[in-house]
C-alpha cells in the first residue's frame, strides 16, 4: 500500500517531493532506498538518474535542482548502494563527507578564536557535520553522516572513514542533554539546559550503534519514554531505528494507528524501519 503511494507521487523527472511539487534530494533518497528494499528497481533507478543529474562539481549534492550549494543531503546520497548509484558518484559523496566539518572545527576559525582570546587552540569539540558548509555542526546532520560513513566502513574499512565515524560519535556523546537524550544543538544555551527531542534522540542513537556508555544508556531510557508519548511519524521512525540499533525496541511494538505520515520521507522511512525490524537494515548494508 505505502509503496503504492511512493509510485503515485514520483515526479516526471524521476525524483520525489516532500508532499507535492518539485523534486528534492531528501525524499528521493529515502524513496529510492524504500523502493530498492521492496524490489521496485525500475522506479528506484529513475530516481537515481535524477539524483545523478544534479550532482555538483565538488562531489556533493544540493537539496534540490537549481541550488548552488552542496549540503547535508549528501549523506543521504552516500547511504544509497554504490552498485545502484554508481561507484564513482558514491565515492565522491563519501569524499565530500570526509572533507566537511562544522565551521567551529576548521583551523581558520580556531586560529581566529585563539587570536581573539576566546578559546585555546586545542580542546575543542570533536568535529561534527553542518547542515550547510561554513556553519556549525549539529546533531541531525552529524548523525546522518555517521550513519552513511558507518555503512561505507562495513564495505570499505579505511582508517580515514573510521576516524570521522569516531569523531562524529564523540561529537554526539559530548552533546547529551542533562536529562539524557539529544537536543538538535548544544547541551546548554546561555547557561540553561536544553531539552531532548524525540527525533534527534532517535537519530543520535542510530548513529551510536554499538557504543555502550552511560550516555547511550540514558539516551535509550529517554527514547523509551518518548516512544510511548510521541505522535509524530518522523520522530517515531527515528526512535524505532535508534532503539533497534541497540536492540532495545520493545518486543511486539506497534506503531500507533492514529499517527499520520505527513511527508513522503515519513512514508519511506516507515517502510525502511519496518524492514529493519525484520532484520533487513538498509542503513547498515
Amino acid at each position: 500500500m505505502t509503496i503504492g503511494i511512493l509510485a503515485d507521487k514520483q515526479n516526471r523527472d524521476g525524483g520525489w517531493p516532500y508532499v507535492r511539487g518539485s523534486s528534492w534530494i531528501e525524499p528521493t533518497a529515502y524513496a529510492v532506498l524504500a523502493l530498492l528494499a521492496a524490489g521496485e528497481t525500475e522506479r528506484a533507478r529513475r530516481g537515481l538518474r535524477w539524483m545523478l543529474a544534479i550532482e555538483r562539481s565538488d562531489g556533493g549534492w544540493p537539496p534540490k535542482k537549481g541550488i548552488d550549494q552542496s549540503t547535508w543531503v549528501t549523506a543521504l546520497v552516500a547511504l544509497l548502494p554504490p552498485e545502484e548509484l554508481g561507484a564513482s558518484a558514491h565515492a565522491r559523496a563519501i569524499a565530500w563527507l570526509l572533507g566537511t566539518t562544522g565551521r567551529e572545527s576548521t583551523l581558520t576559525y580556531r586560529l581566529r578564536e585563539w587570536l581573539l582570546g576566546n578559546a585555546g587552540l586545542s580542546g575543542q569539540e570533536p568535529p561534527g557535520w553542518p547542515w550547510i558548509p561554513d556553519t556549525a555542526a549539529w546533531v541531525g546532520p552529524t548523525s546522518l553522516a555517521v550513519l552513511a560513513l558507518d555503512k561505507e566502513y562495513r564495505r570499505r574499512p579505511l582508517p580515514a572513514i573510521r576516524e570521522r565515524i569516531d569523531s562524529g560519535r564523540r561529537f554526539l556523546l559530548a552533546r547529551v542533554c542533562q536529562e539524557g537524550g539529544w537536543n538538535y544543538g548544544s547541551v546548554r544555551a546561555l547557561g540553561y539546559a536544553s531539552r531532548p527531542y524525540p527525533e534527534t534522540t532517535g537519530m543520535a542513537l542510530a548513529a551510536l550503534r554499538g557504543v555502550r556508555s552511560p550516555a547511550t544508556d540514558r539516551g535509550l531510557a529517554v527514547a523509551q519514554s518518548f516512544l510511548g508519548e510521541c505522535r509524530s511519524a518522523d520522530a517515531l521512525n527515528w526512535l524505532r531505528l535508534g532503539l533497534l540499533a541497540h536492540g532495545q525496541l520493545p518486543v511486539g511494538y506497534c506503531h500507533p494507528l492514529e499517527v499520520t505520515d505527513r511527508t513522503l520521507p515519513d512514508t519511506s522511512l516507515g517502510l525502511l524501519v519496518a524492514e529493519a525490524e525484520k532484520g533487513r537494515d538498509f542503513f547498515l548494508a
Binding site: 516532500y18 537539496p63 534540490k64 541550488i67 547542515w131 538538535y184 546561555l190 505522535r231 511519524a233 511527508t263
Partner: protein, 322 residues
C-alpha cells in the same frame, strides 16, 4: 551595562540620518500608526476584536493574496510559545471577510523539522478548518533567489519561498517574547521563519553566522511593509523564546510598520527599543522608532505596560524607571 556603539551601528545610524536629512535639510518623519488593543483571553471575542482592529488600519485586501505568518516553535499545546491558533484563525476569517482572494497560513519553524506535527500539537488542526489545505510549510516551499535592496549582513543573496514572495500582503504574527540572543523576538525577528530550512537547515544557521541582528535587518529590507499583528495576549518572559515563562499581557499590537510595532511592543515589555540593535539597524537610526514618531491608537502605553523578566545578559536593555 554601559555600551558603546560599534562601527557598524555608527555607520548604519549615520546612513539613516543621512537618508532622513537630505543635504542638511530635515524631512519630517511621517508617524506610523500602531494600535494597541485589549484582548484578555483566547476566546471567541477575538474574532470581533481582530476584525475591528484591521478595519481601523484600513487595509485594502479585496482581490489580493494574503499570507499569515505565525510563529511556531515547539510541540506545545499551551499558550505562551507559539502564536495562538485562535488568533491566527481570527485574522484568517477577518481577511476573508474583507474580500481577500486567498488567505494562507505559512511558517517554517527554526529547529523542529516535522512542521505539520508541530502545528497539530499547537492546536492548529483543531481550530482552523481544513488546516492542511491552507497551510504552506515554508521550509519546503519552492524558492527564488533574492538579494536584499539594502544589506547589513554578509549573507548575500537568499533563497526565499515563492509563497511569501508572491503574496500581496504578508502578515507577520509573532508572539510577544523575550529572546536569549537578541533581547526580544517580535514581528521583524519572526521573518526568520520565511527562510527555508530545506535549503539552510534546522536551525537556519547561516543567519546566525552572518549576524542575527544584521540578518533581521536584511529580511526587513526584503519585506519592508508586512502588516504586523503581535500576539501579546499571553507572551513569554525570561529565557525565551522556548524556555521562558508565560507572561499574560492581554493585548494585541498591530500596524503597517514592523519597526514601529516592535518598538511599541518593547515599550510594553519595558525594554528600551533604542537599545535594540536590530531595530536601530533596520529603521536606519533612532528617529523612526522614538515614541513621538509613532502615532499610537487604542490603549495607552502606561495602561498596558508590564515589565518582562530579562535574563542577566539582557538586563541592560531595561527601560529606565521600570
Amino acid at each position: 551595562m554601559p555600551r558603546t556603539l560599534t562601527r557598524r551601528e555608527w555607520l548604519a545610524g549615520s546612513a539613516g540620518t543621512a537618508l532622513l536629512s537630505g543635504c542638511g535639510e530635515e524631512r519630517p518623519i511621517v508617524p506610523s500608526m500602531v494600535s494597541i488593543v485589549r484582548a484578555p483571553a483566547y476566546d471567541q471575542r477575538l474574532y470581533e476584536t481582530v476584525r475591528r482592529m484591521l478595519e481601523e488600519h484600513r487595509l485594502e485586501v479585496r482581490g489580493r493574496h494574503v499570507v499569515l505568518k505565525p510563529n511556531l516553535v515547539e510541540f506545545e499545546p499551551g499558550s505562551s510559545m507559539n502564536t495562538h491558533p485562535l488568533l491566527v484563525h481570527a485574522a484568517f476569517e477577518a481577511f476573508r471577510g474583507m474580500g481577500a482572494a486567498s488567505v494562507r497560513i505559512a511558517e517554517g519553524p527554526a529547529h523542529r523539522r516535522n512542521t505539520l506535527d508541530l502545528a497539530d500539537a499547537a492546536g492548529y488542526f483543531k481550530i482552523v478548518p481544513r488546516f492542511e489545505d491552507v497551510f504552506v510549510d515554508l521550509n519546503l516551499d519552492e524558492v527564488t533567489r533574492v538579494r536584499p535592496v539594502r544589506q547589513f549582513s554578509r549573507l548575500g543573496a537568499l533563497y526565499l519561498p515563492k509563497t511569501v514572495l508572491g503574496a500581496d500582503l504578508l502578515v507577520s504574527m509573532p508572539k510577544m517574547k523575550t529572546h536569549h540572543w537578541v533581547g526580544a523576538t517580535l514581528s521583524m525577528k519572526n521573518l526568520f521563519g520565511v527562510v527555508p530550512g530545506g535549503i539552510y537547515g534546522w536551525p537556519k544557521n547561516p543567519l546566525h553566522w552572518a549576524g542575527i541582528h544584521e540578518s533581521i535587518a536584511d529580511l526587513h529590507a526584503i519585506f519592508p511593509r508586512p502588516f504586523a499583528i503581535v500576539d501579546g495576549i499571553v507572551g513569554m518572559e525570561g529565557n525565551g523564546p522556548i524556555e521562558g515563562t508565560p507572561k499574560p499581557v492581554g493585548v494585541l499590537v498591530a500596524g503597517h510598520d514592523p519597526a514601529a510595532v516592535d518598538a511599541t511592543c518593547c515599550r510594553i515589555m519595558r525594554i528600551e527599543p533604542l537599545k535594540m540593535e536590530y531595530l536601530r539597524l533596520a529603521s536606519g537610526g533612532e528617529a523612526h522608532i522614538t515614541e513621538r514618531n509613532i502615532r499610537q491608537i487604542g490603549e495607552s502605553l502606561p495602561a498596558v505596560a508590564t515589565p518582562f523578566e530579562l535574563i542577566p545578559e539582557f538586563r541592560w536593555l531595561r527601560m529606565e524607571n521600570s
